[in-house]
Amino acid sequence: MSALEMAPPAKDERPEPKNRRKAKTQSESRVSMFTMLLRDRFATVAAIFLSLVVLTAIFGPALMGEHATAQNLMFMNKAPFDPANGWLYILGSDSLGRSVLARIVVATQTTLLVAVPAVLVALLLGSLWGVWAGYHRGRREAISMRIADIIMSFPSLLLAVVVLFVFSPSAANIVLILAITRIPIYLRTARAESAELQSRTFVDAARTFGTNPNAIIVRHVIPVVTPTLLTLATLEFCFVMLAESSLSFLGIGIQPPDVSWGLLVAQGRQYLQTAWWLSILPGLAIVLTAVAANVLAAWMRIATDPAQRWRLELDRKSTKAFEKATRQAAKMQTKKGNDK
């Protein structure tokens, strides 16, 4: 994505690949990420859903915060999807008559406020460290990998309990735990990529010109590894959210009166026999968000891969036509092979 774009001539007069881009006019030589997003239906839906979740997290608590704690004994244990109870109780209510919808909306903010910073901190620290270790190789690399091994084999539950008992069980501390335990993932990926890149010719060229190693890392290595790491981060967002939910579920994550999706599931568990919606619906929010993040990551992997990007650059009709043609060609080939 980046190594090519950096050289100015490549951007202006990129040679048209012979067979794949025939249908295109000269003017749209480069398709924007946004257009590519619209070309993949699943990814579009996922992106819209995730933006809705983010908007809910930002504005939801301000709009519905009071309903999340307001008790209403007239509306105790109402079943969901019953329009007679009004829109506030469309997802049902708990044993104190609090709206499940409002509680899920408020919990969205807590959940994202843990997951997003944890992913960003781990991404930043882990990838910078990994790129540095992979570029320099040698002892720095070996020591870094050993540290990653140690972190990976440490029981993260124990870490969570320690923080819970020793420090206050605030959201910030949970962010810290999740970030530390996930750093090795980025560290390993970034190290592998950068160790491979540092032997490439364009890095060698920069080195020959006497560029300082940090400048090479920033200008030549990091741009190339960024797409991979961003895709990984999207997947990790899913993992971190699930981890936070699990911790909260076990009682060592977010503490009441704060609510997160995982905590809502845990709190509803004891009412499973009488009010299933209390734990099933918040869990559904987790599942939908996680699936959306996964779909988006899969799209990102294709969109940032120069070898596969054409799938999204073509419009849907031509993609289908192209696939059909290749499939037929493959069939012909096997037929020919079989005939022989």
């Binding site: 140690i150 084999s153 124990l158 020793v166 699930l242 939910s245 599931v265 499973l272 099933i280 869990g283």
Partner: protein
């Protein structure tokens, strides 16, 4: 084999020691167990006596030295909660976790092999799209939620399985079904990707033009070459399961190592916690060796003996050799010769 084992032991010894020291120190940071085990109105002398009995009155490095000394005598301390031998408690809980992990992984691998290779037959076909969506969903469902949904549907609404316990085949259904999801979803994606690239290799074309049946092409040639990345991921997933599926074990009351670990953390039962960490670390060490052996079985190129043979050949070419000090393992099965010849042909 011995060279290989020695290398592995040296490589994993340092992380193991650091982890044990870390667990030791961190566990003692969670608070004084006297607060949990003595009555609220315990006098200071009672507290002091409790601390002395459990060796908690000494400085932490003395405690740690005593603990490491005990490890060499296979003495892992006694549980504060039950008064039993900590190592025995961990060993008694471990089979339950291992059985659960093994059953889960076997089912997940078989299902993923079938679905993954079926999806790879026609990339971007209907089957491929469906399987990719299903596997993605399966990989991103939180296990505690799935367990609760399972209990709600099968135990409460239908009443066909018990909500917890380990007695009878029905009790296995929900925990295994819950745990299978994530390994299955992850493995399908990996195997599908590896199969797609394996099926486009020249040796597949060769096998087809030789007139091999489609089953043979898939099972013998493509799958064997696509298995290595699957093995890596499956190994990581198994490590996670052996570490104890804490959430699932807690929900279903499964008496495994994960449940024992979280209980001993919450009860500040230090000796049991350390025994659990040590036991799982050793198990993961053994598992990693098995995974490496699996690579060697799958791919002759990564066998240690192959490297040694090449080295010996090179030395022989250079001049007189100094004998064969590098005779390491060579688990050559009869099945391997086919893949070797197929690889040599293209």
């Amino acid at each position: 084999m011995l060279t290989y084992l020695r290398k592995r032991i040296i490589a994993s010894a340092l992380p193991l020691v650091v982890v044990i020291v870390g667990v030791f120190a961190l566990a003692r940071m969670t608070g004084n167990p006297a607060a949990l085990y003595l009555p609220l109105n315990a006098t200071d002398t009672m507290r002091a006596e409790f601390a002395a009995r459990n060796g908690l009155d000494q400085p932490i490095w003395v405690q740690m030295a005593q603990y490491f000394g005990g490890i060499f005598r296979f003495d892992f301390g006694t549980s504060m909660r039950t008064g039993q031998d900590a190592a025995q408690m961990a060993l008694r809980a471990f089979p339950a976790t291992l059985q659960l992990a093994a059953t889960t992984m076997i089912i997940a691998i078989i299902l993923a092999l079938i679905v993954g290779s079926a999806a790879a037959m026609k990339p971007n076909g209907i089957l491929d799209r469906c399987s990719s969506f299903i596997s993605m969903t399966a990989a991103s469902i939180p296990d505690f939620w799935l367990a609760i949904v399972g209990i709600w549907v099968f135990a409460i609404t239908l009443g066909v399985v018990p909500t917890s316990g380990v007695v009878g085949a029905a009790a296995w259904f929900l925990p295994v079904a819950t745990l299978v999801m994530r390994p299955f979803g992850t493995l399908v994606q990996v195997i599908r990707g590896a199969m797609v690239s394996a099926l486009s290799e020249p040796y597949i074309k060769l096998a087809r033009s030789k007139g091999a049946t489609e089953y043979r092409v898939i099972a013998q040639h493509a799958l064997r070459n696509a298995a290595a990345p699957g093995l890596t991921v499956a190994g990581d997933l198994t490590v996670g399961l052996v570490n104890g599926a804490v959430v699932v074990e807690t929900i279903f009351g499964w008496p495994g190592i994960g449940k024992l670990m979280i209980d001993s953390i919450l009860q500040r039962d230090f000796a049991v916690l350390q025994a659990c960490v040590l036991l799982t670390a050793v198990a993961i060490f053994v598992l990693n060796i098995l995974i490496d052996l699996g690579y060697a079985l799958l791919d002759p190129r990564v066998r240690p003996s192959a490297g040694a043979r090449q080295r010996r050949k090179a030395r022989a070419a250079q001049g007189p050799t100094h004998g064969s000090e590098n005779r390491t393992l060579a688990p050559v099965g009869p099945a391997l010769s086919t893949s070797e010849s197929s690889r040599g042909n293209h």
